[in-house]
Amino acid sequence: MKPNVIGEILSIIPQERVLTDLADRYTFSYDASFGEYLPDVVVQPHTTEEISRLVKLANREIIPVYPRGSATSLSGGPLPVKGGMVLDMSRMNQKLEIDTENMLAIVSPGVLTADIHRQAEEAGLFYPPDPSSSHVSTIGGNLLENSSGPKGLKYGTTKEYVIGLEVVTPMGDVIRTGGKTVKNVTGYDLTRLIVGSEGTLGIVTEAILRLIPKPPSRKTLLAAFDRFEDSGYAITRILSSGILPAAMELMDQACIRAVENYQPSGLPVEAEALIIIEVDGHPAAVEEEIRRCEEICRGQGANTVTVARDEKERETIWKARKMVSPAITQMGPTKISEDATVPRSQIPAMMKRLRQIADKYRLNLVVFGHAGDGNLHPNIITDKRNEEEMKRVEDAVTEIFEAAVELGGTLSGEHGIGVLKAPYMEMELGPIGLDMMKKIKEAWDPNQILNPGKIFPEPGQTRVVLRQNES
C-alpha cells in the first residue's frame, strides 16, 4: 500500500480509529478458523458515509477491503488473505431499535446478535436465529454468512428474517434493498443476494429484521439410544407425527464419551447417540408435545429419556451439549469444525460415512449437530503442528465434502465457504453453476475490491490446505 493512502484514510477517519501498529494489525490477521494474514491497515468506521468514502478510495487505489465483525468465522470469512484494509465493523453498533408495531428490529451491523435477542424479548418478541456464538458475533457477520444455529428446522434460517438492508456496494455507492414490509416483490431480491454473500458483494451498514411473537413456554428432553439408527427413526417419527420441535440436537458416541470423560455427569457412555429435543409454543401444546416426544423415543428403543421439570433441569440437559467444545479440546489443541449438511433422511448414511472416514485416516472425529435440519458438525481434533497428521486431515475433510454432496447435501449449512471450502465449489455447483455466481461477482465488483480470495477457488486450487508450511 502506498504511504500516501494512509494519509488519505486519515482525511476520512480520525486517527484513533486507524490502526497501523504492527501489534494492532496482527490482531486482525486471524479469525476462529485457519491461517494468518497481516493487513496493511485496520480502520474502525462509525458511519455509512465513512465506509462509502473508504471503498471509493480503495477502488481508485485498487486496495482489497475486508469487512470483519467479531471474527468468529469458522471458514475464514474475514481473513485479509490479500492484505489491504480491514474494516472493523464491530464499532459500528450505535443503532438497535425495536419497532413493536411492525414487529421489526432496525440495527447497525456491529450490534451483537444476543443484544437483539435480549431487546426483542423485553418487548415480548423473538428473533429466532441463534448461532452458538450469538453472544459474541455481530449481526452483520451473521447476515453475511447466513449462519442460523439450532432453530432452523422450525423457524427457518437467518435469510428468512432479513427484509431490508442498507448496503455500501463494492464501488462505494450506498443502496437500500427491500424495506419494512414482509411482502415485497419489486424486482430482483437483492436482500437475499446480499445475505450469505460473505461480504463479497457489499458491506451491510444497516439491517431491518423481522421479529415474531415470543413463544410463552418451552420443554426439553434428553434421550439416549443404544443404537444410532434408532435415534434416526425417533427423529423421523416425531416429525411425521406432526410435531415441529424448536431444536433437535444430536451427539454421537465419541462426543458423549468426550463429555463424560471431561466432566462426569452420568451420561450413558455405552449409548451410540444422544438427542436433545426442545418444543416451544402455547403451554398446553408444549406439555402434550413433549409427552408425545417422550413416548416416541421410548417406542423407538431409547434407553433413557429425561424430561426437564424446571429451568434448572433444562439447563443441566443443555449443559451436556455445551460441554462438547471444552471436552473435545482436551483431545488435542486444534479443532477442524465442519458443517456439511445432508437431507434429514440421509443422516444415518452420513454418520456411517463419517465413521469410515475417521477410521480410514486414523483421526479423532466427533459428530454433533442440528439433527432436525440435517446440519451436522463433524469435528476433527488434531494438532496443527503435526504436519503428517494434518495431511491426513486434509484428505479426510475432502472426503467429508464428497460424502455430503453425494448424499444430496451441501458443503456448508451455516459456516460459509470462505477460504477453506472454496476449492470444492465446483464439485457441488458444477462449472456453469459456479460461473454464473462469478458473473454476479464480476458485475458488482469489477475491481475485485471486496473480500477477494473468498468463495471462488484460486486457479488450480482443488483441495484444502491446512498445513502451515504449504500455505
Partner: protein, 447 residues
Amino acid sequence: MSPSRNNPGQTERARKLFELTYEETNQCIQCGYCLPACPTYQSMGRESASPRGRIALVKMAAEGKLDITRDLAEPIDLCLGCRACETACPVGVPYGHILEETKQVLHESVARDPLNPQQPQHKGRERLKKAVLRHLFPYPKRLRIVGRMVYLYQKSGADRLATGVLPKISEPAARFAAALPRLESPSRRYNPGDVLPPVGPKKARVAFFNGCLMDAVMYRINRLTIELLRAVGCEVVIPETQTCCGALHAHQGMKEAAEQLARANIGAFERSESDFYINNAGGCGAMLIEYDQLLGKDPAWRERARDFVSKSRDISQVLDQFGPLPFKKEWNGTITYQDSCHLRHVQKVTEEPRRLLQSVPGATFVEMADSDRCCGSGGIYNLLHYDESMKILDDKMEKAADTCAETIVTTNPGCLLQMKLGVARKGMSQTRVLHLVEVLAEACGLT
C-alpha cells in the same frame, strides 16, 4: 516459517517466552467468546486490548514475529488481570498463567535490556514500583509502620493540609489517598501469634491471613473478620511469620519473589495446625489458592502447596458454612454487591457473599447489572493506568447508581478503594462503600 524451539530468527527472550507459554497459547481456538467479558476490550474497543488478541500477540512474539518490548509490552500492561476471560473461555485456556509468564519475560527485558526504548520517566516509575514490591510488601512490620503513619497523619489533620501538596507529586495517588477510610487506633489490632477463643462451642480451628494492604491500612476490617469468625464458633489463630501473598509480585513479573513469599506462608500456616486458612481479600485469596500452580514444578513443595490450597477459604465461605450469624440489628436500606474479580473468576466464589447479604435482617438486596465485571481497580492498575481505569470505573458507577442502593459492598481492598473513589467522582455523597465484613459486623452489633 515454522515456529520451533530452535528457530534462528528467535531472540533469546522470544525463546524463553516460547518455552513458558507456547503450549498454552496454542490452546486458544480464537472463538472470541472472551471478548464481551473483557473490560478493556469493551472500553478501548480494539482487538489488541482483548484476551484473544493478547494471547495471539504472545504467541506471535514467541514465534519471533513481534518484538517483545516494542510490540508486546503495552497490550500486556493494559490488561487488568481480572481473569473474567477464564470464566468465559469454553476451552479452559489458562490466561492468568500466560499473562504472568509473559510479564516475567517482560520484567527481565526491562531489567536487562540496555537498549530498552522505554522513556526515562517510565523507567523511573518501573524502578520505584519494583523497589516497593521488593522492600516493603514482604515485610509486615514495615507495612504496619506505614499504617501507623497513615493513622497519625489522618489524626493530625495533616492530610487535609496535604491535599494541596500530594496532587503535585502524583494526581492518582492523591485521589486514592483521599478515598482511604479513616483508620481506627492501631491499639485495637490483633497481633501475630494471638490465639482467640470462639464464642460458644468450638466448631473449627482456623488460621487468619492478614494480608499486607489490609493489615497496614484496613486493619479494622481484619479485626471485624476475626470477631465474626469467633462469633460463628471458630477458634482463630494469627500465624506468626506470615507475609504478603505475592500477588502483586507475580502480576508484575517477579515470579521468584512470589515463590519465596509462598513458601514462607505455607510454612507459617502449617505450624498453626488449623482446619482452614481464612482470608478476606479476593485478590490475595486468588493468589493463595494458586500456590499449587506457582510451586507445581518444585517437588519439595508441591504436596505442601496442594495441602495449603485445599485448606484456603474466603471469609464468606466459612461464615456461610458455620453460620447463621448472630444478627442483632435491623439494617435500614438497600445493598448491592460488586464482585471482586479474583474472588469470582479465580476462586469461583459467587453465591456465598450474596447469600450472607440477603440474610441481613431488614436489608433489601439488589443485584447490580454487570456486577461480575471488573471495576477497573486491577491491583495497582488504577495507579499505573489512571485514565484507562477511570473510564471503566465511571461506567461501573452508572450501573451502581441504577440500583439506587445506599450501600455498595465488595470483598477486596483494591475494589473497595476504587469504588470509594467512584462514589466520590459521581458525587454520590449518600452512598457508603463497605467491605462485606463491615456490613455483617455492623448488623451483628460489632463495632
